[in-house]
Symmetry: C4
Subunit: 248 residues, 4 copies
């Protein structure tokens, strides 16, 4: 625990990481729409490949500082699963993480809009409202949680970046919802009326499905990996340990 970075630095990492993740998702969506106007599938391919690369590198770069959650449900599950062993985020830190993530996400939407010479904010009109999309969000979020904790609980934190990026990249396509899987990113995507946007009225349904999916994921973690070592859960918060290991 003494190894953790100061809270301010961790919140900076969560702010930056979530912001850049949203900029990656929205920005590449705008570019795709402009450059390949004739084929929505090609746009999603460009959007999803960019997200795989961008999300992976953000986790690798910021993981040692804050754990690279970039996602309120990840922070929430970290708090939940870490409570018994006393290794997870505290309730207070969890709330701070969520705040930094949401602020960062909105900042990232504004940044993407500005980079493409659009008004800083425009409210999305893309409705994403139907039970089958919510089912997609449940599956995408549950898989995300299982991926992170399966790797943490088996001591393979170095694979989290590749694992999470791959899961999200696949879920872009095989869930019908294109895998938002993240309440902070969902909120932020309201603020750009472009390819990756979501209308405000569709947000609550998505967020509820994501929270449900996180619950399903946490139950699967407990079923599949019941014997979590103390240290494994800890590294989800921030993983200086493997880093040090590699420098020796």
């Amino acid at each position: 625990m003494a190894d953790r970075a100061p809270l301010g630095r961790r919140l900076l990492a969560e702010f930056l990481g979530t912001g850049l993740l949203v900029a990656v998702v929205i920005g590449s969506g705008i570019a795709a729409q402009r450059l390949s106007p004739d084929d929505t599938g090609l746009q999603l391919l460009q959007n999803s490949i960019t997200t795989v690369l961008g999300l992976g590198v953000l986790i690798v770069v910021l993981g040692p500082v804050s754990g690279a959650h970039f996602n309120p449900v990840v922070s929430g599950v970290d708090w939940l699963l870490g409570r018994r062993a006393g290794t997870g985020l505290s309730g207070r830190d969890t709330a701070s993480y969520c705040g930094a993530q949401i602020l960062g996400g909105v900042g990232g939407a504004v940044l993407a809009n500005l980079m493409f010479a659009l008004p800083p904010v425009s409210i999305s009109s893309t409705a994403r409202n139907s039970p089958n999309l919510w089912l997609g969000e449940v599956v995408a979020t549950a898989g995300l949680i299982v991926t992170i904790w399966a790797l943490a609980r088996t001591g393979r934190v170095g694979l989290v970046a590749a694992g999470v990026a791959s899961w999200i990249g696949a879920a872009y396509w095989f869930t019908s919802s294109t895998s938002f899987a993240n309440p902070a990113v969902t909120v932020a995507r309201m603020f750009s009326d472009t390819f990756a946007g979501i209308s405000p009225s569709s947000v609550p349904g998505f967020v509820v499905a994501q929270i449900l999916g996180a619950g399903v994921g946490a139950l699967l973690v407990i079923a599949l990996y019941p014997d979590a070592p103390r240290i494994a859960d800890d590294v989800v918060v921030a993983h200086p340990a493997p880093v040090r290991q590699e420098t020796t």
Copy 2:
């Protein structure tokens, strides 16, 4: 052997893994067909990239629990090649694995259909019936078996996820059959009349070709890597060892 997870937990992992693999294959096929209606090759590109990412992460996540077979011929070869050294699955466990894989696969087809607002089950009408496709299945399955055991028998279990995902991704394209290479997945793909489907009458030919390919693959393993250490074959079933190694 004492390291293996209880059978129930391993069967849960095989059920979930095969189910999600089928959901990945069928779901991304549906999305590709809807979003890129004008170019079948672009659809297959989207479908194959999604499968590479999804299959890789499922093996990484569930490998330490059950060995991440997701495939009756992999379980069968594990039983076959492990018999002499007493390291493989027992005959009874092999049968249980196959059952979990087929049930999971069908569940995954239903899940994919539901996520895309289709009826839970529709029987595929896509005929895949000709000797050249069967030859493709033989090649795809033989290569899959060689990939897994070459890595296991040289102590590089950590590369199985990337190796298997890469092989299947390549075989989607270079075999004419788009590389089903898996009887459980083949059976499951009957239950969705979409891009990745296969008509019931085409299933027996594919399954026979896959079993033949597995045999060819096992012979090549014996020819190329005759000196299999006991431990190497064991890790194909479930690989807690490298995990523990990484946590030290």
Copy 3:
């Protein structure tokens, strides 16, 4: 420090690496334009995937010789951040690196033109001149610097190739400027009037934005990773250490 290769060999590596990087960017742009004339987005996808693969392998191959900067702002930040600890490039070496990079880059543009049977040099007429593109360059370059030093300062130099290639690949799409992020490459791209070109009048704006972005990146490195070990900064220059480690 005694481990460093002689300056001449390091300059050869920077010359070759920057040259081949430019050949990769320009050459794949020409091929993309010729082979997929109907969809600019598909061209950028081909161009960006090629750059991810080519940049990654060049860093892996030449990193142990020169540090694989291929980029004046990377060399500059190495000099700047390494001054205090005495680990970075000297001012003189930094200047030599920049010279080799610019010469190499121009050579790479000529090579690309010749491989595609074009005149050895043609001055680009593609204007890339607007504040939103400059913002894109600031973001792309800042992220590049943070990626390199975050990995170096946490002892994960072996991930720099994948990290940098992934970042640039993502930034091709999510920044509006397609992520030049490199003054030597920017200068070189003047010399090919093809897909990846930039008109001479647009170069100064891009270079200023890149220098600004490098400054922002250096500040973020100091904020996120203030406790840089001596050894970590050193390996940005050339990393024989991890190599030796792997051979033991």
Copy 4:
């Protein structure tokens, strides 16, 4: 040296590996042409991504047996650079390797044709005859040689598969010749009059350029990595060492 597999087993690996490599290249080219008839660039994208995945996994799987050359110029440079230290292939083994590679390659072309229900052999009519394409082959082959020996001479044999696959994937696009870079594969590609074919009259020019490129590559290896440890060159032939290392 005592660690090497018997020559017969190594030749089997070279035969299989080169054959499957050619099947990957030709087979995916046929599939691409059939499925995406309207865009040659999309066909090359499908062809090149398949080759990256297939080549990478073949090197990983067969490397520990034979060194996974699959390429006469790689075997030739191994003989040449290893002579002084007595670590490379013997002249006789080099000749056997080349024979197995050419036979395997032709077999792979026949296999690809049969999988796609084409006549087993058809002579390609695709002319690839011009100095700018030959320049592309020189660059592609030189880079291939540098990639392999840079990694071998710095003790990073575990990165050869990813490095070689990435280089070839990039060179598909940025060299004008689509990077054959391999005399055995070039000869084999005469035997399929499809996307990846080459007319017999174009073969000599390509092979000469590849031999020239290999020479350039060998000189660059000596310039960039003059201090080759004995062990490093050895592992290019067959690398049991890193394997054993990983099992401990």
